[in-house]
């Protein structure tokens, strides 16, 4: 511990902090532009000047390590004069276009010039002009406003791992640019907009849309992947204008992926806003009552084992629970499934399908093995943590097969099941590395679990880790990387019919007469003469083949629980309301059951949530068998399935911005993950 004085107040701080951090702990706010907690220190904006005893000049507090016995003053006339001087230089070349700048109202420079700005300019010369740069469809640049803090450059190189941004030239003529002005090839690029303290980098899709003070802000959860990033949704009336990250050190730190940030314009297009019925291949508007009656009639004349339900990738847990109750109590059928493929999931224990090491735990690991996972595209934020660990510790990372650029180097293993066999038979150098490592991390991805050997890979890796006492109370190295927001929730609710997904097989054999698709658009099957009911928000693959469409709500239009890949239960809050006649998803089946059994499943949402939480509680307490069943070995290749990152769900597919990103990416280059 170090003892020092800030404004004559004695404080004690940990060693290794900077003067700026010490001041913050003493409750003194220091203005800054270039300094950012999550990035390396640059010390080039000079806004954080403070006075230090025995120093003839003011010091840049962000770059000065705090030391024993320092006497820091932040409120003296010298400090104020110094900061005013710095501000005058920053404003010398900064254009006076705040009224037409998108950053206006949330601009660091604007805020701080309220305190340190001088009302009249002494700068008589011409202001510098910098040509606009092209940085892709997501980032709008207005480089004349740039104050050269280099936060964006540091973010791109350090966190995103794409050293494409740089500062060319020097002095007044310094310019931030990408090499040959191409789009940033990162799924985290949108974060430079939040980092930019001025309006030099702003959001292109959000340009001139709204002012920050006009927007209603709702803190909620993202559903674009299974990470469950914490976000803030800004709405203007009904429309979701933008999505911003919220700080959660355990999950997304301060970042969100581009899909999380920009897919929100997909909430406005392709929406279903009225119940529809297909008559002669054309959809006709009908009322809710008519729709319910048609479905109820159909259910009454169909035997229960011919009715099946599929729950989608963005469905919240309330809806899943209602669906479960609806099938079990009203229809009395067990044909309910949440997976859209043959992913092997063992629901006997909760740790069998979670990311057990936790996202925070990634920073502690000293060895990473990726089996059939492509974390950069499947869980971008999680991948940023892996990179963070790599940058700090140069951790050894191995992957089965080539999974494209992951923003960190990794060694490639042969993508074959025989390598797995070698590992658990202790014949491979990898097994030695896992055993030698204190906190290894094995990440099994969807591509591996979806293959024929999915069960073999999972069960044997688990057995190998248990046998070698690697799974302890403190550290569980076995991690599954689910890709959908609803995945873990649906496993918690046991919406998995059996290991091989027989229901999907039956569906593909056209064995059902009524099929409920609850937000499920990713099923691969040929429709014959099933009666398909689609409950969802967007007119996509599911709605196209449906006979009756019941319009639902998206994640921003209803309260709903989601369990992220670590098993954290988080609640998404409603920021807007469903369009037209659309209803919150859980209401639909609840009301349908009223028609079928003259009684709603749940009287209100509170009752539903109580029941849901009770069920989850009981489910987690249940003691389950831990028998290992031996699995037959099949010699096969582990194929990394191609991932259409920008088109992975209905909202993203409806989004214009995502389409633009996708077309740029596919034209630019192949990533090696195409299969």
């Amino acid at each position: 511990m170090l003892k020092l004085k800030v404004n004559d107040k004695d404080i004690e701080i940990e060693e290794g902090l900077t003067v700026l951090q010490a001041c913050e702990q003493a409750g003194v706010e220091i203005p800054r532009f270039c300094y950012h907690e999550k990035l390396s220190i640059a010390g080039n904006c000079r806004m954080c000047l403070v006075e230090m005893e025995k120093s003839p000049k003011p010091i840049a507090s962000c770059a000065m390590p705090a030391a024993e016995g320092m006497n820091i003053k932040t409120n003296t006339p010298l400090v104020e004069k110094a900061r005013k001087g710095v501000m005058e230089f920053l404003l010398a070349n900064h254009p006076l276009d705040c009224p037409v700048c998108d950053q206006g109202g949330e601009c660091d420079l604007q805020d701080q010039s309220m305190y340190y700005g001088i009302d009249k300019s002494r700068f008589k010369e011409n202001k510098r002009f910098v040509p606009e740069k092209y940085m892709g469809p997501l980032i709008k640049t207005q480089m004349t406003r740039c104050i050269h803090c280099t936060r964006c450059v540091r973010f791109a190189t350090e966190v995103a791992g794409i050293p494409e941004l740089g500062a060319i030239g020097r002095g007044e003529d310094m310019q931030i640019t990408t090499y040959l002005e191409k789009a940033m090839e990162s799924e985290l690029s949108g974060n430079v907009i939040d980092l930019c303290p001025v309006g030099a980098l702003t959001s292109k899709p959000y340009v001139f849309e709204a002012r920050p003070w006009e927007l209603k802000k709702t803190e909620t959860i993202d559903v674009m992947d299974a990470v469950g990033s914490n976000i803030r949704v800004d709405t203007y009336g009904w429309e979701v204008k933008r999505v911003l990250p919220r700080i959660n050190e355990e999950i997304n730190e301060e970042w969100i992926s581009d899909k999380t940030r920009y897919a929100c314009d997909g909430l406005k297009s392709q929406r279903l806003d009225h119940p529809l019925k297909k008559i002669n291949n054309e959809f006709k508007k009908i009322s809710w009552k008519e729709a319910y009656e048609i479905i109820a009639e159909k259910i009454k004349i169909t035997s229960s084992d011919k009715i099946a339900g599929f729950v989608g990738d963005l469905t919240n847990m309330e809806t899943m629970f209602v669906t479960k109750e609806f099938f079990e109590k009203i229809i009395k059928s067990k044909n309910l499934e949440a997976r859209d493929d043959n992913t092997y999931i063992n629901t006997e224990e909760r740790t069998n399908y979670l990311f057990n090491s936790q996202i925070n735990g990634i920073e502690e690991t000293d060895f990473i093995l990726l089996i059939g996972a492509n974390p950069r595209l499947e869980a971008t934020i999680l991948n940023a943590r892996i990179r963070k660990n790599y940058v700090a510790n140069k951790t050894e990372i191995y992957s089965f097969g080539d999974i494209g650029d992951q923003t960190y180097p990794y060694k490639k293993l042969l993508a074959e099941t025989k390598i797995i066999r070698e590992i658990y038979e202790n014949k491979s150098e990898i097994s030695k590395k896992i055993l030698d490592s204190k906190k290894p991390l094995v990440i099994i991805g969807k591509s591996a679990l979806n293959s024929k050997s999915g069960k073999f890979i999972f069960e044997n890796m688990k057995k190998f880790l248990i046998d070698n006492k690697k799974i302890t109370d403190e550290w569980n190295p076995l991690n599954i990387l689910p890709v959908n927001a609803s995945s873990v929730g649906s496993y918690d609710l046991n919406l998995v019919n059996n290991e091989e997904n027989l229901i999907l097989k039956k569906l593909q054999e056209n064995d059902f007469e009524i099929v409920f698709l609850i937000g499920q658009d990713n099923l691969k099957f040929k429709k014959k003469d099933e009666f398909i009911v689609y409950i969802g928000s967007h007119g996509d693959n599911g709605a196209e083949i449906a006979d009756v469409i019941l319009p639902g709500a998206t994640y921003t239009e209803q309260d709903g629980f989601f369990t992220n890949l670590e098993g954290k239960l988080q609640k998404a809050y409603r920021a807007s309301f469903p369009p037209g006649e659309a209803k919150e998803d859980y209401k639909v089946l609840n009301e349908l059951s009223e028609l079928l059994k003259r009684k709603k499943l749940f009287q209100n949402k509170d009752e539903l949530i109580d029941n849901l939480l009770n069920y989850l509680d009981l489910n987690q307490k249940k003691i389950k068998s831990k028998n290992f069943s031996s699995v037959d070995y099949i010699d096969e290749k582990i194929i990394i399935n191609p991932i259409d990152y920008y088109y992975s769900n209905v909202i993203a597919r409806a989004s214009k911005t995502m389409s633009e990103c996708r077309s740029i990416k596919t034209n630019l280059k192949k990533t090696g993950t195409e299969g």
Binding site: T157, P163, E164, L165, G166, A167, I168, G169, R170, G171, D173, Q175, T178, Y179, L180
Partner: protein
């Protein structure tokens, strides 16, 4: 100084010749293992020497690959330093010093001569394609002001006539004699030494 312009006519390809690969490897070996990127400035200079005194984008890419570092980092370095030329220059590259001592001794008159004799604009190659000129900051020969640098040599104690004479020689393809044009030895006084005369090697 404004931001350096990048030439619009860029060669497709650039590669070090055998001699320069040797030289580049020698430069890289000056730095400890894992810090090879420190050689970027030397390599850019080698590339500039090889490619008629300017660095094309292809060379920056080549060097980035050579040192396995991001392109943009090489680009940053090349645009930062004023002595890397990013556009083609003449075979005789005139650098006119216009910092205070030279300016006081009439450097702008030399600039006018360059404008008249070589090309109207800075960094523009003369019509015969032989030479180009630019203003530079102090070249460290203030005592012999005004002066210019042509390629690797200094031409000192100039005036308009003397510079015109030099330019006429280079136009014919001849390299003029470097050094003082008032007959001084290095930076000694004009009419021999007046102080420390008794000391032999002063």
């Amino acid at each position: 100084m404004s931001l350096k312009k990048i030439s619009k006519d860029q060669p497709e390809k650039f590669e070090f010749n055998d001699r320069n690969i040797e030289l580049a490897k020698k430069m890289i070996n000056n730095y400890p293992e894992g810090k090879q990127q420190s050689a970027v400035m030397s390599l850019l200079y080698i590339a500039q020497r090889q490619n008629n005194n300017w660095i094309p984008l292809a060379a920056m890419k080549y060097i980035a690959k050579f040192l396995s570092m991001p392109y943009i980092k090489v680009y940053e370095v090349a645009t930062f330093y004023s002595m890397y030329n990013l556009t083609p220059v003449g075979k005789f590259f005139y650098q006119v010093c216009t910092t205070t001592p030279c300016m006081l001794r009439g450097a702008y008159k030399l600039v006018d001569v360059c404008k008249k004799k070589i090309s109207n604009k800075e960094n523009e190659i003369s019509t015969d394609g032989n030479s180009s000129w630019m203003e530079v900051e102090c070249l460290g020969a203030c005592i012999n002001a005004p002066m210019i640098q042509i390629n690797d040599e200094y031409y000192e104690d100039l005036d308009e006539k003397k510079l015109e004479n030099i330019i006429e020689q280079t136009m014919k393809g001849k390299t003029p004699k470097p050094g003082s044009y008032r007959g001084r030895v290095n930076s000694e006084p004009e009419n021999n030494r007046t102080t420390l005369v008794g000391i032999k090697n002063a």
